[in-house]
């Protein structure tokens, strides 16, 4: 190790990295249809979502799907929503064109999402007076084939039959997801379903969007958890230590599956306190380590976040938000932990908070989280949420070689002092055995060597050092993404990106434009100037108070309206569209 080299060794002298440029998808969907499927937990509804998303993609459609589920292993009433479109689509709708009810609990659960035009297909056991439904012997047929679990493949078949789509593509998707396990039975159920779907003639079937023949090869279908995982790997993550917690576990599972492909240490820790302390131990000896958690677990990590700040040991935390307080709604979504992230840890030190809004940003900012933690030697908190983590959408291919790799670890000599004072506030970070220096990292206030001190003069210097680091991160912060131009800004951060984009396109009002924040803390005031030139600023946030609106207010940005929601659901395009339409009606 003494003679070993650090790949991509770099220094702070280099300007901050730039993210690779991506082509922004220009086309906008002209036609989409939505399908809502409901059933109990443990009956394979997630598998059905994966199969249908894949099969529709193979059939040449853009797909977006999202699920809402109860916090239980079996039973309850869960749904998955699929939207199929002729162009990229990144947001859910509330009202649906087609609803498939696999059990009796589904209809009361989704009732408000049905319109007079919704086609409701339900198992023959289900009766419902208020709405017109088409009964199909889903369960009976599945049982005939051998098990109620074949209902899902049967239901997938119904849709392909209904739309007259190529069942061979569906059959391939079924084989892909079941790997040999019961493929034959599921395929048989699917074929039965297709026959039933084809026989449905009495109702008005919504027209499918126009398929694109080249789509299935050029686009990739994945959920936010996987995209975040690819981002972390791109950032060189080689250690993840976590305690499982919904909705963050998707990333942990993804990373565990990747440990077969890469040198990537995965350990399930005894608690979240251990998780983040392990992360710090990893970085101290040269690893690129992270942890994954949700709000409750992150609360337990606060002291270690503070230790990361004091000891100037980098750390990356993937924080997938769910509604609190306390246990809250474990399987549902909210953007409620922004303040927790920004203010986590006692004492004064810098941290960076990032909140990606779509798959590409999940990768970009996952990569960036590691780059920034290493560059500034401070904790970086990457905020996702249940909605973003669990939703499946499509993205173009990614060139992973386009992400600049840097490692800021320095070789040390005999005179090395871990907390050497200099103009930037950032001391070169040595690690044990790379060079001759002794690496002293500490949680106590310290001198340049890392020895405990209570000298008030040294304290002032070290407080100033940590302040300088914050100022550096502000000066190098990434600004918001501004889409379009106009007089009324719709402002969002994190996972609301897709829904706000779609609403603006749907409303087609020249006054509206989108200002979206992915780097949410700390903010550079210069990047906020655009919000001082608008006639109105409308903040859209998935929490009860408008936490980011308050952050902007503290930067002297006027927030005229706050559209807030904290009921466990993400925003829906059709509902948000109406809300904004009403809001801007009276504005000149």
């Amino acid at each position: 190790m003494k003679n070993s080299t650090i790949p991509f060794q770099s220094t702070l002298a280099l300007p901050p990295v730039s993210l690779p440029k991506h082509d922004v998808p220009k086309q906008y969907q002209t036609h989409s249809i939505s399908i809502l499927i409901g059933g109990a937990a443990g009956t394979g509804i997630k598998t059905l979502e994966n199969i249908l998303s894949d099969a529709f993609k193979q059939s040449g459609y853009f797909v977006f799907s999202t699920k809402e589920y109860m916090s239980r292993v079996r039973g309850g009433s869960n749904t998955t929503l699929l939207r199929i479109s002729d162009a990229p689509i990144f947001a859910p709708c509330w009202h649906v064109d087609i609803c498939i009810a696999l059990d009796a609990d589904t209809l009361p659960h989704v009732y408000e999402r049905l319109t007079d035009d919704t086609i409701v297909l339900a198992d023959e056991s289900i009766t419902q007076e208020k709405i017109q439904i088409t009964n199909i012997p889903i369960l009976k047929k599945a049982m005939e084939i051998g098990s109620p679990s074949y209902s899902n493949s049967f239901a997938a078949g119904i849709l392909f039959g209904l739309f007259g789509l190529d069942r061979l593509l569906l059959s391939k998707s079924i084989s892909r997801f079941f790997h040999d396990k019961n493929t034959q039975e599921n395929t048989a159920a699917m074929i039965e379903g297709v026959a039933h779907g084809e026989s449905i003639k009495s109702i008005h079937i919504p027209k499918l969007p126009k398929p694109l023949s080249t789509l299935s090869n050029s686009m990739h279908l994945l959920d936010g958890s996987s995209a975040s995982g690819f981002g972390f790997l791109t950032g060189g993550c080689n250690m993840i230590t976590s305690y499982p917690m919904s909705p963050s576990t998707g990333v942990l599972n993804f990373m565990a599956s990747m440990s077969k492909e890469f040198t990537l240490l995965v350990e399930q820790s005894e608690d979240e306190i251990a998780s983040l302390n392990m992360v710090l131990g990893g970085w101290y000896s040269g690893a690129r380590a992270m942890t994954s958690t949700s709000g409750g677990g992150f609360a337990l990590m606060s002291e270690a976040v503070s230790l990361s700040g004091m000891s100037e040991t980098p750390a990356v935390v993937y924080l997938a938000q769910r509604p609190g307080p306390a246990t809250g709604l474990p399987t549902r979504t909210e953007q409620g932990d922004l303040n927790l992230a920004i203010h986590s840890g006692h004492g004064y030190f810098g941290h960076i908070v990032l909140a990606p809004g779509d798959l590409q940003e999940c990768i970009d900012y996952g990569y960036l989280a590691f780059e920034l933690a290493d560059r500034y030697q401070m904790p970086v908190i990457y905020l996702s949420d249940q909605y973003l983590a669990d939703s499946i959408s499509m993205m173009e291919s990614v060139d992973f070689s386009a992400y600049e790799q840097r490692r800021y670890i320095q070789t040390s000599d005999e005179t090395y002092a871990r907390y050497k004072l200099n103009d930037s506030g950032i001391s070169p970070r040595g690690i044990p055995t790379l060079g001759e220096g002794i690496i002293v990292s500490t949680s106590d206030e310290h001198d340049e060597r890392g020895q405990i001190t209570e000298s008030y003069q040294m304290r002032e210097k070290m407080v100033d050092k940590r302040k300088q680091k914050i100022e550096l991160t502000i000066s190098e912060a990434y600004g918001p993404k501004v889409s379009g131009q106009g007089s009324i800004a719709l402002i969002g951060w994190g996972s609301t990106k897709g829904v706000i984009d779609e609403v603006i396109k749907e409303l087609d009002d020249p006054r509206l434009f989108h200002v979206h924040f992915t780097w949410v803390h700390p903010l550079n005031p210069q990047d906020l100037e655009i919000l001082k030139q608008t006639k109105a600023n409308i903040m859209i946030e998935n929490n009860v108070t408008g936490q980011f609106a308050d952050v902007l207010k503290n930067h002297d940005i006027k927030i005229d309206h706050r559209i807030l929601q904290a009921n466990g659901f993400n925003f829906f395009t059709d509902i948000l569209k109406e809300e904004i339409k009403k809001l801007i009606k009276d504005k000149a």
């Binding site: 392990m278 690893a287 990292s441 949680s443």
Partner: protein
Amino acid sequence: MKHALDRTDIDNAWCAGCGNFGILKLIKEVMTELEFDPKNTVIVSGIGQAAKTPYYIDTHMFCGLHGRALPVSTALKASNPALNVIAEGGDGDMYGEGGNHFMHTIRRNPDIVHIVHNNMVYGLTKGQSSPTSQKGFQTPLQVDGVTNEPFNPISVALALKAGFVSRVNIGNYAHAKMVLKEAFLHKGYALVDVFQPCVVFNKVNTYKWFKDNTYELKSDYDSRNLPSAMIKALENDPIQIGIFYQAKSPTFEDHIRGDEKQALCSLTHDIETMQKVFESY
């Protein structure tokens, strides 16, 4: 007396006569005699007077949070298995605040030496009871004396089948040195619970008390027998010192790293593999 491993220009925060001085000397001598390279050694500690030990030995150190030395040690050892890793702290740090990590670190079996300064009292917070305080021990907080059952780290470690379980009395220096050497040489997790008096806050468990109330395990004691080790661990009056149990098993690093044990800092992910994996989505 000067030692080659002394860190220079330090302000030692311990009280005169503290048992910690003996432990500091012991570690430096064992490291020297076993030819441990200080530049290849990391001492990880938490908070408390015992946890200040690494500030006085010229090795790498990570002094983190109260009770959290073990998870830090586990991860840094895994990310660079060539390092010698020592986790060090007091009885409150390791058995109280860090009790959960104590259990689960034993289960993981990382190749580290775990040194716990056990003086049966809290020093830095000024004299409250510790998890190992004896029943009846009066403090400003436990005004009628301690009523909780004392934590027995030896029997707990044995119940979890720790690979090296030992206890020493710093007043019995030659014996302590022999045991610590064995702990350093053990491949896997090694617990060394060190009796040491707090000369300021514990007027009961003094140098003399530890001398009178401990005795060495007999020379014919078989440290490979877990049930008999447990019987010895539960003996209270007097208290046994020595190596209670020793057994070798694969370490955490063996499991998580396999045959490839290069320092993680020298490795990168293969971009072509990444591209290939992504294309499968």
